[in-house]
């Protein structure tokens, strides 16, 4: 049976899981918060499974992104265009 304190830690952790996974510079957790999340994950199977699932999903989505890279021909055309645009104007 989950006690109230554990349930509250679960809820607190759940609100920070995405930040914990992403470690994005715009929304970094403090060192204290990271330690608290890690401690909770070590004792909570539900939250640790969530983290594992989210990591799998992110990895898979990134795989699709990596395999959907623009083709070189288009990139090369844009590089040529970039060079045309970024020409110093001659007086």
């Amino acid at each position: 049976m989950m006690n109230l304190a554990f349930a509250l830690r679960c809820k607190w952790t759940a609100r920070r899981l995405q930040q914990y996974i992403d470690m994005d510079p715009a929304a970094e957790l403090s060192a204290k918060e990271i330690a608290q999340v890690r401690n909770h994950l070590a004792e909570c199977e539900k939250c640790s499974v969530s983290v594992a699932d989210y990591k799998k999903i992110s990895k898979t989505l990134r795989w699709f992104g990596d395999n959907n890279s623009p083709d070189e021909t288009t990139i090369n055309r844009l590089k040529l265009k970039l060079n045309q645009i970024a020409q110093p104007t001659k007086e």
Binding site: P25, I57, I75, L78, E91
Partner: protein
Amino acid sequence: MEAMESETEQANRAAAFREIVEPELPVLLRVARGLTRSGADAEDLVQETLIRAFRAILKFDGAHPRAWLLTILRNTNINMNRRTRPSLFIDGTFWEDATPAFGDDRRLSAEETAIDKSMSAEIQKGFKDLDPRFREVLYLVDIQGLNYSECAAALGVPVGTVMSRLSRGRKRLREHLVKTSALEGISK
């Protein structure tokens, strides 16, 4: 002499612009593809973005070039499509372009090869069924690898909104994958 200095400054500015922008071309093109749903339109949008960015380069502070370019891309798209297509974004059809041919020059890791076809189908379905506001954030952050600030710039929303939509979108995608047991097909 003054004209010579001016030319030198212009040359330096042009070189700096190329240096800043060239590494971002693939990201710009991918995001533009999500915005326009068309390869040709995406290329036009990126070209117009480059023209506007070059005009605005003197106002750029040098920090976060990707976010700066994505902001220009978003505004350019709004301006270009105001009359014809007021509201467009990721509809999930980009999956159809995820062909192996695009990845010919890279080796797949063991984890990547563990992604099986049934899971792939479910994750695509779950992604397409998401609310468009969640889908576009997942597309930009999880698929295209933008950080929160870059995604916020591309969408014109605060970082907090990106975080909230990302969290809810991932949660719903996970619920779909758990329900269909598709997550079991992915290695950790």
